[in-house]
């Protein structure tokens, strides 16, 4: 992990100087994570792929604005967050995003065939986009609270509030399922 971070820093430095190959390597390293992050937010493969393409293009165009290469992951996810919420706002322009009931079933059901996976997907879908994003950033992407605050553009206290509420909701749904399954 340490070597990977050092290599990323070198690649970022080269890409900032206009080295396209270095940027291509960065894309290859981060495309799967960014794609899955976007997929869990927008819950649609085509949208997630289009957004991921836009994210890396914007990252290439704005890489010189990144002051600290060590903040590259949070910076990249911040771009992805903005792109995803721009799409969600276009989809639901008249609705407050806090109250959006995520899409479940349909294509989501076909995405994950296993029963538990379906239950997890359904439980995540019942969260608000903000809560779901907090869970994705912490549980799946492993960001720290301060990094999450940078990605989401809000205070750490807000991050913790969203995440704790989401964990309580998920716990009510998923923990009993596991317990019953264990029985």
């Amino acid at each position: 992990m340490i070597f990977r971070e050092v290599e990323d820093r070198d690649l970022i430095a080269k890409a900032r100087r206009g080295n396209v190959d270095a940027h291509n390597v960065l894309v290859s390293r981060w495309e799967k994570r960014v794609y899955n992050y976007l997929l869990r937010l927008v819950r649609n493969r085509e949208d997630a792929l289009d957004l991921a393409q836009d994210v890396f293009l914007k990252a290439f165009q704005n890489l010189k604005k990144l002051d600290d290469p060590d903040r590259f992951p949070a910076w990249l996810y911040r771009i992805a967050h903005n792109e995803a919420y721009s799409l969600l706002r276009r989809r639901k322009p008249e609705t407050d995003l806090e109250g959006v009931e995520p899409r479940v079933g349909g294509s989501a059901s076909r995405m994950f065939p296993a029963e538990l996976t379906l239950a997890v997907d359904t439980a995540l879908g019942r969260l608000s986009p903000d809560q779901r994003e907090a869970v994705v950033l912490k549980i799946y992407e492993g960001f720290k609270f301060d990094e999450m605050a940078e990605v989401l553009g809000c205070p750490v206290s807000t991050v913790k509030s969203r995440l704790y509420t989401a964990l309580d909701l998920l716990k009510e749904t998923l923990a009993p399922i596991r317990i019953r399954g264990a029985e």
Binding site: R33, F112, V120
Partner: protein
């Protein structure tokens, strides 16, 4: 330490510093409720992690891919020298067009100035002409005066020579007459006597 004073979720998520983490761990070993709560959180996390990462269906296009290659006009637009040349060409065209389609009011606006320049030029030309005529007249008068002087001098010299010639001719005639008289006396003495008698 009681249940309300610990941040169990922060402990579960690995966000506590070493001291708080140790204190929280001690509390959990003694508190069944917090222990059960921690187990439920772990079950929830385990369930969440069953949701696998998907493989990306199509790799993200690199900026070096052909799809991102600029079109010909984009290449020109992004090229500094080409844009400079195009700007210079555009500026030249604008100057040419402006030269050929110069609006009439510009001429009207400069008419008084043109007229003033023309008036000044005419006045200068007239003064030059006057000065030239004056100088030419003075020169003509001076030449006429000198010519008259020359003519007068020539006439005076001519008259002097003419008078000298006349005197010389009279002198010559008088000498011839004297010589003729002597000759006649020498060859005809009777006549001389008769003449002398006749004279008497």
């Amino acid at each position: 330490m009681n249940c309300s004073s610990i941040d169990l979720k922060a402990y579960f998520l690995g966000e506590l510093d070493r001291g708080a983490k140790s204190a929280c761990a001690d509390h959990i070993t003694r508190c069944d409720d917090c222990h059960e709560e921690l187990e439920r959180l772990r079950l929830t996390q385990t369930a969440l992690m069953t949701l696998p990462d998907e493989e990306i269906p199509q790799r993200i296009a690199f900026v070096s891919d052909r799809v991102f290659e600029p079109r010909w006009w984009q290449a020109i637009w992004r090229s500094g020298p080409a844009m400079g040349f195009a700007s210079a060409a555009l500026l030249s065209c604008a100057i040419l067009v402006h030269g050929f389609t110069r609006p009439a009011p510009v001429v009207v606006a400069s008419a008084p100035l043109t007229q003033a320049i023309q008036v000044d030029q005419a006045r200068i030309e007239r003064k030059i002409e006057e000065q030239v005529n004056l100088r030419m007249a003075e020169l003509g008068n001076r030449q006429a005066a000198e010519s008259a002087k020359l003519v007068a001098a020539v006439e005076k010299k001519f008259q002097f020579r003419q008078r000298a010639d006349l005197v010389s001719a009279q002198e010559t005639i008088r000498m011839y007459q004297q010589q003729m008289g002597r000759l006649m006396v020498a060859y005809n003495p009777s006549s001389n006597l008769s003449n002398q008698e006749g004279a008497r």
